[in-house]
Symmetry: C2
Subunit: 181 residues, 2 copies
Amino acid sequence: MQLSPKIENFVLHCGEMGSRWGFNRTIGQMVGLLVINEKPLTANEIAEALKISRGNVSMGIKELQSWQLVKVHHIPGDRKEYYSPNGSIWDLANRVFEERRKREIDPTLTLLRDQILDSANSPEEKYAQEQMQSIHDLLETVTKWSAELQRLTPEQLQSLMKLGSSVSKVIDLKDKLLRKS
Amino acid sequence: MQLSPKIENFVLHCGEMGSRWGFNRTIGQMVGLLVINEKPLTANEIAEALKISRGNVSMGIKELQSWQLVKVHHIPGDRKEYYSPNGSIWDLANRVFEERRKREIDPTLTLLRDQILDSANSPEEKYAQEQMQSIHDLLETVTKWSAELQRLTPEQLQSLMKLGSSVSKVIDLKDKLLRKS
DNA sequence: TTAAAGTTTCAATAATTACTGAAACTTTAA
DNA sequence: TTAAAGTTTCAGTAATTATTGAAACTTTAA
């Protein structure tokens, strides 16, 4: 498993970005490698290509499975497991998005809901609660919106984008329609 | 600067989430503290409230300024600097979003554009380039969309959401309008 | 000027997170 | 069965990232 410079370049970049996308360097590289390789790879091939230990690959695969980003294949007469990306690029991005929402937004929403229900016993707490309410509303809006967008196919999304340079036009459109009816 | 349990709870939570939102624990706590405090705070007050060193606060403020999340105030006759959030919750969220886009997406888009222009010299590279093209297209779509959404005020966003439980309705709307005109 | 009040910097260290590799485990086929 | 081929686990260690605190710097007012 020897990578061409161009491919290695891409894989290394995925590693660097990995940490920003919610996993660590190694796991980023693994995703990159699996995505640009047409045929599924064994754990050993991955370890060799990325020059990392076999144990590390095993842990990485486990993590990627918890994100539902990889799929296992078996080839008849071969005991090894072969790994490949679980779905299209679009599917993978959606899962990452979803998983991150769960980790980055949901816990905060839960906490805020609790705090807001609680009664404030000082002017400081009163102000704090108002702010928490704003954050709550914002996060809820973002959550609902991302759920809507995720439901769309890439084609629908493209179609929506062609509406014009600004979504505000859609809003105007809606207002006009409402006024007519 | 003694925090009530309720407020401390929120601040600590912001710290935990901080790392998931692109900064570290301390900086997350600082943002939380500034946001729920009605009046601006000095660096010393922040250090005391969060029980961290003065130097750490200084570095945190610097980082938050690079994200454009804090604003400095001066009180006549007082040499200290007072810090407060730079804008509404909505403004802050927008800036974080924007900054993360720059860090998490833009570098990849640049790399992909370069790689795609380059010619493939093997079937493996051919496939790799096709995949990179898909990733590129996806990221570009996401980037454009987030720019659109960021341009909206919270009110417009709410208005847009009320359109119905599914954004696909917007697409139907567009189709109907196009047919009429 | 100078010293007091404040801020910033950064080397040293603490805390956290990732990785290795050897041992334990699992599965399969002879 | 058993041994070969494979996988997983996890204690120890390496690498990275965050924090402190003391020294250096800046600003202001007497």
